[in-house]
Structures are given as structure tokens and as C-alpha cells.
Symmetry: C2
Subunit: 339 residues, 2 copies
């Protein structure tokens, strides 16, 4: 292990985005005098009559949810993107804008209002995974859709307005910023080396064995070398697949197992239902050659020291670069211990 990385300020390079993160390991000792988050240790019922995501309940727009038994998908009632939105373009000197079409969906992971992914059986998580696969293919086959973003906001601190276990899928006609960055870096590496950037990275991680948290037959769960969030984690398939629709049934079960293991470890870390935003980055559905893509899922959790103290990505982070105190290696070893 390179001990300099544990002791002195440095920046680390994110091979997927081409950007840097500032790491200040010595700073983890500073006392916290700022805002504490509220912890909700409320025990939720399996069914909440006032929840607009529970089976059989009526949503704000008057629609009634079916009596669903596992996963339930519907179009977002307040979609940020719509397919029938007007097409236009502003190209007026330094004012540049383009209309954007898309489809936004909500995906309920379970009818059980009291659960989160961490509490669900692997087979039930697998039903979520196969729904993601189906949605990726279906949405992606729509002519106006060239990219499908699957994500989850978990916890009030992550802007989640309903504790019922659910995620979202926003699909759209152009590629968002983060995808453009990963597209560029992966494409350049693949063109040069004829190998997957993340595949080669996984090899290096296996040899270093400092940031790997968990491995099963088909997936590796690790804290990336360039992690930004204190307990950021990435789930990567060992084989290079461009998108989640390409993995087999066994592999999808292994993926569900990896999700189960990391979300359970998260909940143990600060003895709280651990908040995060998670998301899957994968090949665009634009019909182009996407053979450089190696899909992966990331978790960006805000908590730093306890259930109530989070890392604020503010001033310096907004105007300069993201910054962290605890190192990726320290975070990985704490999570590994909880598995």
C-alpha cells in the first residue's frame, strides 16, 4: 500500500470522467460543529393508506395503482421529460438551447411499504434487475430515446419524497453530461488498447486488493480509486457487457446478490437506513457502435461520520473540485468489515 495516499493531500484521477478529486486524509480529525441531519427511525407499516405508491392507492392525478405483487412501473406523473413536447432549437449567438424529448418512469421495487433493497430477498431484488433490463430495451427501442438513466434516490436527505421503496428511469433523446464524459474516456481507451477500460481497471484492483469490498462469481463491489463521496461504491460485472440487458439469468442473480450485500453493509455502517443516490451507467441506445462501454452501477451516499453528519459538497466543491477527507481505502476497509 502507498502510505503517502493515506497521509498527505493529493488529487486522484477519475479514469471514467477525466476529472480529479481532492483528498485530504489528515483532515478527517477536524471536529464537526455544523448541521446534523434528522434520523428517522420510524418503523413503517407494510401498507400505508396515504402513500401514493402502495398497491391499490390513488395517485395525485387520479390514477389507481394496481394490486401489484412484486415490481410496478408507471410513467412519472410529473415527468421532467415528455415525448410529445415541442421540438425547437435556439441558436442565437451565445444563447444556445435545444428542446429535449424523453420518458420518465417510476419503478416500485416492492408492494411492501416498509422495505428497502437492503431488506429484500435476493430473488425479489432480481425482479427489479430484470425490470431494469426490460425497461432499458423497451425505452431504448423508442426512436426518440438515445439514453436510459436508471437511478434511485433513497432517503429524505437525498430529496426522496416518499419512503416507499422505488427508483426512477429517465430516458431521453440526447446524452447527459456525465455520459458524454464516460463515453469519451472509454472510447479513447478502447480505440487505443482494444480492451475495456473498466476491465483493465478491475484487473489492477484485483492485484492491489485494497479497495475491493466483495466479490461473487460475476461481479466485483469496490470503492473506486477516485471515489468522491465518503462511502461511494461501484458494482462492476467482471465480463465486459455494454448494457444490463446482455447479462444472463445467473449473472442477474449475482448482480442482485451484490446489491443486497452492499446495501445491507451500508445499513450496518451507521446503524441507520443508509441514504444514497444510486445509478447505472451504460451504453447509449443510439444505435451506434458502443462496444467500448462497460456498464456499472454506482452508489453516492452523503453520510460521513454518523447517521446525522453528512459530507457537504458546497463552496470549494462547487467552484473547484470535489473534496474528501477519509480515503477510498479506509472507506473500503470499513465496509468490508461489515459484510
Amino acid at each position: 500500500m502507498n502510505t503517502d495516499l493515506q497521509d498527505f493531500s493529493h488529487k486522484r484521477f477519475n479514469i471514467l470522467t477525466g476529472e480529479w478529486v481532492l483528498v485530504s486524509p489528515h483532515r478527517a480529525k477536524r471536529p464537526w460543529q455544523g448541521q446534523n441531519e434528522a434520523v428517522s427511525n420510524e418503523v413503517r407499516p407494510a401498507y400505508d393508506p396515504s402513500c401514493y405508491l402502495c398497491a391499490g392507492n390513488t395517485r395525485i392525478n387520479g390514477e389507481v395503482n394496481p394490486d401489484y405483487k412484486d415490481v410496478f412501473v408507471f410513467t412519472n406523473d410529473f415527468a421532467a421529460l415528455q415525448t410529445d413536447s415541442k421540438t425547437f432549437s435556439v441558436n442565437n449567438g451565445l444563447f444556445k438551447a435545444e428542446s429535449e424529448q424523453g420518458i420518465c418512469k417510476v419503478i416500485c421495487f416492492s408492494p411492501d411499504h416498509s422495505k428497502s433493497l437492503a431488506d429484500m430477498a435476493v430473488e425479489d431484488i432480481n425482479k427489479v434487475v430484470t425490470t431494469w433490463q426490460k425497461e432499458y430495451v423497451e425505452l431504448g427501442s423508442n426512436d426518440t430515446i438515445n439514453y436510459v438513466q436508471i437511478f434511485e434516490n433513497k432517503g429524505a436527505v437525498m430529496g426522496c419524497s416518499n419512503p416507499h421503496p422505488h427508483g426512477q428511469i429517465w430516458s431521453q433523446s440526447t446524452l447527459p453530461n456525465e455520459i458524454l464524459k464516460k463515453e469519451k474516456e472509454q472510447k479513447e481507451y478502447y480505440a487505443k488498447n482494444k480492451r475495456s477500460l473498466l476491465g483493465d481497471y478491475l484487473q489492477q484492483e484485483i492485484e492491489a486488493n485494497e479497495r475491493i469490498i466483495y466479490t461473487n462469481e460475476d461481479f466485483i463491489v469496490l470503492t473506486p480509486f477516485w471515489a468522491v463521496w465518503p462511502f461511494e461504491v461501484m458494482i462492476v460485472p467482471k465480463k465486459q457487457y455494454n448494457n444490463i440487458s446482455q447479462i444472463s439469468n445467473t449473472e442477474s442473480l449475482a448482480f442482485a446478490d451484490a446489491i443486497s450485500v452492499i446495501t445491507k453493509a451500508y445499513d450496518k455502517l451507521f446503524n441507520t437506513s443508509f441514504p444514497y443516490s444510486s445509478g447505472i451507467h451504460q451504453a447509449p441506445t443510439n444505435g451506434k457502435d458502443n462496444s467500448h462501454w462497460h456498464w456499472h452501477m454506482s452508489f453516492y451516499p452523503p453520510l460521513l461520520r454518523s447517521a446525522t453528519v453528512k459530507k457537504f459538497m458546497v463552496g470549494y466543491e462547487m467552484f473547484g473540485s470535489p473534496q474528501r477527507d477519509i480515503t477510498a481505502e479506509q472507506a473500503a476497509s470499513r465496509l468490508r468489515y461489515l459484510i
Copy 2:
């Protein structure tokens, strides 16, 4: 006015960073069921014996603050960057890291614990401005410092751990991500047009007259066309200066006036001490030709609907692109009304 921009989903291009923001104007109508922030309407005393920034008080490391009368600057007791930190480099395949040196300072805006910039007289804000100028020059003249980031985190919701009016200055040996982006876009434009990118942009904004909030002799306060945060604002000098040290005494007073006007309007908007992160982006101090730089100050406030409802930059925003509902034009007109 282009009404399409007020009615339909679109993305807008940020000419300074080369990135996009997704705008969904129709979505402003959705009800809010998520987390509310705590409002602190506590009236603070002018002096707080337990505050580590008040004059005469002892800080955590045992140092005693002088009996300062206006602005007071000291080196951060828990600095993320240090000048005597070890120099090293990791260049191991896909693991890339570089040590980073720097100096982090804290700048108290006033000895009066109860004040914020919005409550201070323009002449007192001007003392803060001249301190920023001095620090930019002094820090920048240090051999190891090539970039000086001046910023303020205001409010508990922005991770500010002490309500005493203060900001920070983090200066460092390499250029942070956001600066690299603005460096690239401004340089390319300047090379091609022999004019400042922001200067030309200001001309267009003056003609359009849709996003300008306030103007004085030397500065324009506006909501940029590509604003990300609901009430994001930019203060730009009319003349192209590369950095704040180049403005005259009259201009620095005009800058202080602009800061005063916008922070007062912010406080009126939701009838609360308005939280934000603000920062100044200006030319690096790397001794290179920085004639393409046009310095500016930005405010990134998180509040969206009221003192307690903020915009969450989470899931889609973290994995895709930033997204907003209320348009830049709507935000500008609401702020303009409060001046």
C-alpha cells in the same frame, strides 16, 4: 422573448463550462412531499462567547483571535491543503494521483456575529473586497500557488458550521476541475475572436434584457442563461479584467454595492437569511498568459420554493445532468422585483 423556453423541456448550453443543464418549465407545478429544511430565525447577539470566530475568543487550536474591528484573516485550523505537505506522484497504470500543496484561509467579514453580507454597509463589504484583492495577490505570488479560490458557504444547509459572517480562500498548486473547464472555453473563444467570451455575452444580455437583475456603473448582476440552481446569480464586471486585483477603488465600491443589492434581495425572497455558496472565478496565478479570463462572482443558492424547500441535486443530476424547473427568466424577474 422565446416562449418555447418557458413552456417546453429543453437543455441550455453553458458557454463557460461547455456543459448542459436540463430545464423542465412545466414541472414547476408538481406538489412537494419531501424533506423540509429547518429555518433558523434565531436572533444572534453581536458577540457570542462560544463562537470561535468572534474577536478575542480562543479557537480550537488554542490561538486567540485579535480584537479585530473589520476584516480578519487567518490560516484554516483544519486546512485541506498545506504548503509543507509531502510531494509525490502515483503513476501506476490506471491509478493516477498527484500530491497537492496549498494554503487555506478563513476570512471573517465583520466582528459582528449577528451580521451577514446582506446586513453590512457597502463600505464594510468593500473592506472584504479589498481583502480578497490583497489575498489573491499575496497568495498568488507564492511559488507553489497557481490558483486562488475565494468562496463563502452561508447557512447550515450549505454545510456552514458557524453563523459568524465568514468566507474561505483555498489556494493551490494545480487548477481545479471547474477552472480547467472555464479556462478551456474562454481561451478558445479569445483565440478565435480576440474578445472576451463573457464580454460578448454581456452585450447579448443587455440587448435581450430578460435576465438582468441589477446594473450599476461597473457591474451587471444577472441570472445566467444556463443557470443551474433555482436562483443562481452572476456578478460580472462590464470591463474585461482577468482578476479582482485589477479593478480600481471606485470599481471595488461598485462591486460591493452589487453584492449588497443581490444579498438583500435574496433575504427578501423567502423572508429568511438566504443560504448559498458563492465564489469568484478568476485567472490562475500561474504566470501564464491569462488575457482570455474575465473574472466573475457566482451565487449558488439551494432554496427553491420557500425558506424550507430546497432543490435537491441528486439521482438524475448526479448521474446525468443538472436539472431545474423554474426558468432563469422567471427567477430573474422575481429577484428584480425585490430590488
